[in-house]
């Protein structure tokens, strides 16, 4: 038996899974807007990692997962139009709100979601990874294998695009 520690153990795999399954599934969703497909493909991403877990260095597993996810998606949906739908995760049940606020929030959300669908894929993905998955620019840059500068640019442009769309619609 070879005792040289290489690859990731089963326990580590579970940890990696629980940490990155959500973000990976979300990442695919940002690109495809098909939740069923996103969950299926996220499974396949981790299945591939499972199969190769003996050969994977723990520090590269995250970038690898995104790379596999990206390959699976690119293979299928190069030019699909997306229609993303999101649930609202903010819980306002314990605070004082007004009907005006609820309405304004809801309207704004609809506008935001429409604008997100019109945003191009690269900017949308980066923007949502930062906002929903709470990745820092550095983390996004690492997972996608691009420079932090590029991420800053995409975020800036994404925000500018969304602002323009939303203000135009008011």
């Amino acid at each position: 038996m070879n005792l040289e520690v290489k690859g990731i153990s089963q326990v580590e795999f579970d940890k990696v899974f629980l940490q990155f399954y959500g973000p990976i599934r979300n990442y695919i969703y940002y690109k495809t807007s098909d939740i069923q497909l996103s969950e299926d493909l996220a499974q396949d991403v981790f299945l591939k990692i499972w199969e190769k877990k003996e050969d994977i260095k723990p520090e590269t597993v995250k970038a690898l997962a995104y790379k596999i996810a990206n390959n699976l998606v690119v293979n299928r949906f190069e030019h699909l139009k997306v229609s993303l739908k999101f649930n609202k995760s903010i819980n306002t049940s314990n605070v004082a709100t007004s009907p005006e606020f609820e309405l304004e929030m809801k309207e704004f959300d609809e506008r935001l979601q429409r604008a997100l669908n019109e945003l191009d894929e690269k900017k949308r993905t980066v923007f949502l990874m930062n906002r929903i998955d709470e990745f820092t620019y550095v983390q996004i840059a690492e997972t996608l294998g691009v420079t932090v500068k590029a991420i800053e640019k995409r975020m800036e442009k994404a925000l500018a695009f969304l602002r323009k769309r939303i203000d135009k619609n008011i």
């Binding site: 299928r76 995760s89 709100t97 602002r163």
Partner: protein, 297 residues
């Protein structure tokens, strides 16, 4: 936390658009159906069942069907199909060598399956997700509806409702569209083909699309006719092997090309049609072996 949210509520109306975007987008949530824990459990059970081959393709369970006669075999096939249907979530439809078979899928789509070809799909999931795996050759008449996905060794095909032929054997992959519109993707490449067009993978990697001279002839195998235009002779002997369930012992026939039509009705006729113009002789031996030789001068 509540205090933070209260702040958002109080200040929302007075925030700039940018602030609103930043704040609102943070509270968006992907409408997932499985939690991470459930997904992990699902993956674990998949791994335990050895269900790990490829993307969404479940392992193929072989059906052993002996060819007593065409009728008996078909009966057996129907029975085996029913048995698998009842006892196994994965349904395998096999057309053995020397047979063609036809199946109506749960959504009403119809498939003619050529000899030595297999179709696999999940009995339970098919109605919710029209997806199947093909190895070999088949002609599909897809009922209009949700996306219908066919996975093959080398490429994926997605359609809404149409009729078309798929050939996927060894390193040959070809889709020919008769009606409707078809999306074909392999690796990073994808093309959309319309009636009269085919998509084919050339040199093992490049996906090309072109117009067929005679699209109807592509699916003539369904009538037991096989048309060839300047086709690799080896490919034609392969097809005869599949149609008549024989095995050839071939000389070196690389770089020989055949144009003509053969049928699956009579082996001797088919051999004559191919061998005479190609300068070959044949001898039908025992055990379904057929010996092909170069004609001596």
């Amino acid at each position: 936390m509540d205090k933070h949210i209260q702040n958002i509520v109080n200040n929302f109306s007075n925030s700039s658009t940018d602030e609103k975007i930043i704040e609102s987008s943070k509270h968006l949530e992907v409408p997932f159906t499985l939690s991470s824990e459930e997904a992990l459990a699902k993956l674990k059970s998949r791994i335990q069942q050895g269900n790990t081959s490829t993307i969404m393709v479940k392992p193929v369970k072989k059906l052993m069907i002996y060819r007593i006669s065409a009728v008996a075999a078909s009966l057996l096939l129907v029975f085996a199909g029913w048995y698998t249907f009842v006892y196994n979530a994965n349904l395998n439809i096999v057309a053995d060598k020397g047979q063609h078979t036809n199946i109506t899928l749960p959504d009403g789509s119809n498939v003619d399956i050529n000899a030595a070809s297999t179709i696999t799909f999940s009995k339970n999931d098919f109605t919710s997700e029209r997806k199947l795996k093909l190895s070999g050759e088949a002609f599909f008449m897809v009922k209009k509806g949700k996306t219908f996905t066919i996975k093959t060794e080398m490429a994926d095909i997605r359609i809404l409702g149409t009729s078309f032929n798929v050939y996927s054997r060894d390193s040959v992959f070809k889709v020919s569209c008769v009606t409707g519109k078809i999306w074909v993707g392999s690796g990073k490449q994808s093309v959309i083909i319309t009636p009269g067009e085919s998509a084919e993978i050339k040199n093992n990697s490049i996906l090309v699309k072109y117009t067929e001279n005679n699209i109807q002839a592509i699916a003539n195998w369904r009538k037991g006719e096989f048309n060839y235009e300047n086709s690799d002779l080896v490919k034609i002997f392969d097809e005869i092997e599949r149609q008549y369930n024989v095995t050839f012992v071939l000389p070196n026939i690389n770089n020989k090309f055949f144009t003509g039509s053969i049928s699956n009705k009579n082996l001797v006729d088919a051999l004559d049609i191919v061998c005479i113009p190609m300068g070959l002789t044949y001898e039908i031996g025992s055990n379904s072996k057929v010996y092909i030789r170069e004609k001596s001068e």
